[in-house]
């Protein structure tokens, strides 16, 4: 099969990119591994500052409708396992009968494969019942299945806090949100300075937390340095959820599945102090942080750069997601972890850039400039910031691209 654009990933970025090209007359195919289009929008749920609740699945339905109305041919249950210059995408259908083509050659490709969770190894983490916050979100909000009756969430960050709140809405008791204990395999997640910077980031999503933390002070590096010389606060309640910063999770216990967690006790400067406590739980949700899932781009030869504020290793790209390879674009969290609104705006920009490359949009048009400005606006008004400093990291990436391409 031949087409103008192949899109890998049917979340907000992929759907927006597909729509833009199809609306301008390009032939577009889109592949997604999941049984339903919409990507991670399908499980997202949070409260806006206005008090209204934002439901990702409703946004997904709208984006899917727009793409389909524009004539995008979308295939679900489709795993794109190969990408060759030319561009040829290789597709498998492992979860059901083959519902689409096995090989498509396209003039352009947008890779919008999203993000993955980094692992958070802890003793006992392989027990059934230990899952990522993402897994819990899918169970609850996509399939309406309760992850557990008594939960502990591990990781102090905006996603962990959001999922903890969703667990409560679903009917679970959330006993605590705690940092992971430090051990020889641990990342900075349990370190006091990281925890404090995450609290600063979370203050954007939780206004009452911001008030109690004087959030803007903590968000600056100077503030963090000052704050870590004073005793780290012990605990906060946010939305009725206990954040317990000084009782890190040491290990998970159970016979055949999760039955309990053991929490350590830390003093003001992170030193061990006092006995451990055991809490009976039936689910443990780990939040190791999100990082771009961009294996296809790596396989296609795209170079990566390290951007901690965008989740880690990020494929190098310029405005509108253009990579160094002609016709290959990245959009959404695969190019750096941000929220759904930013992802959709990036998809729109990438789609317009592809349409220009295909000659479907005159080079004199303002459409691309408008789309890039809309992306910046989405970033500025983002409701959920995964890591502090995404905007600054984008600027750094952009200046690096301008210099070296």
């Amino acid at each position: 099969m031949n087409c103008d654009l192949a899109v890998v990933g049917g979340g907000p970025a992929g759907l927006a990119a597909a729509r833009e090209v199809a609306q301008r007359g390009g032939s577009v195919v889109l592949f997604d591994e999941n049984p339903t289009l919409g990507g991670k929008l399908l499980g997202q749920l949070h409260e806006e500052r206005s008090g209204a609740w934002w439901k990702g699945w409703e946004v997904a339905a709208r984006l899917v409708g727009e793409a389909q109305s524009a004539g995008v041919r979308a295939y679900t249950g489709a795993s794109v396992w190969g990408l060759e210059p030319g561009w040829t995408t290789h597709v498998a259908y492992p979860h059901g009968p083959a519902s689409g083509p096995g090989r498509v050659t396209a003039k352009a490709v947008v890779v919008a494969t999203g993000a993955m969770e980094k692992t958070l190894p802890l003793p006992g983490w392989t027990l059934p019942g230990v899952m990522t916050v993402g897994a819990a979100q899918v169970l609850m909000n996509v399939y309406r299945v309760l992850p557990g009756l008594r939960a502990v969430v591990v990781g102090i960050d905006p996603l962990a806090l959001s999922v903890a709140r969703q667990l409560k809405l679903a009917g679970a008791e959330v006993l605590a949100v705690v940092p992971p204990a430090r051990h020889r395999l641990s990342t900075p997640l349990g370190e006091p300075e990281h925890v404090l910077s995450m609290l600063g980031a979370m203050s954007k999503a939780a206004p009452n937390l911001a008030q109690r933390l004087a959030g803007s002070l903590l968000r600056s590096k100077a503030g963090r340095c000052i704050a870590t010389r004073t005793p780290m606060p012990e605990s906060f309640d946010v939305w009725g959820i206990p954040l317990r910063l000084r009782t890190p999770l040491e290990r998970v216990e159970g016979d055949g599945q999760v039955e309990a967690v053991v929490l350590g006790r830390r003093g003001a400067n992170g030193e061990k102090r006092g006995p451990e406590t055991t809490l009976a739980v039936d689910v443990v949700c780990l939040s190791g942080g999100l990082t771009p899932f961009a294996d296809l781009l790596a396989a296609a030869g795209v170079l990566f750069t390290n951007a901690p504020a965008l989740g880690g290793a990020v494929p190098r790209h310029g405005p509108a997601g253009k990579t160094q390879s002609t016709g290959l674009y990245v959009a959404g969290s695969a190019g750096g972890v941000e929220g759904a609104d930013v992802a959709a705006a990036q998809g729109r920009a990438a789609g317009i850039a592809v349409a220009m490359e295909l000659g479907l949009v005159p080079s004199s048009s303002n459409e691309l400039g408008d789309a890039l400005r809309a992306e910046a606006a989405a970033r500025a008004t983002a409701k959920l910031e995964f890591y502090p400093g995404a905007a600054a990291a984008r600027q750094l990436l952009a200046s690096g691209w301008a210099v070296s391409g």
């Binding site: 991670k40 749920l45 492992p94 819990a136 899918v138 309406r144 299945v145 809405l169």
Partner: protein, 102 residues
Amino acid sequence: MRIQSHPFVPCPERPAVEFRFDGTAYQALQGESLAAALWAVGVTALRRSDVDGAPRGIYCGIGHCFECRVHVLGMGTVRACLTPVTAGMQVFSARPEAAGAE
């Protein structure tokens, strides 16, 4: 277990179907993931580790980690979190010949 009431998440409009896991029959909602269907009926262990035989189940829930791999008759090894359940589906925690099934 399934969520009894939720202020925002709508009830799935899927017909009930029957499937089997390691020979035992369970009820599911057509088209939901095998991982969700099994979690809903309290089955948390989907396989045994090749290394030490310890029970393993859902970890990432989004198709990246392969911890939830199960064997479906007629399909082979699949990720339970990405595989929609269909009526009469036969699912195993190990290959059927190891379980003594057809």
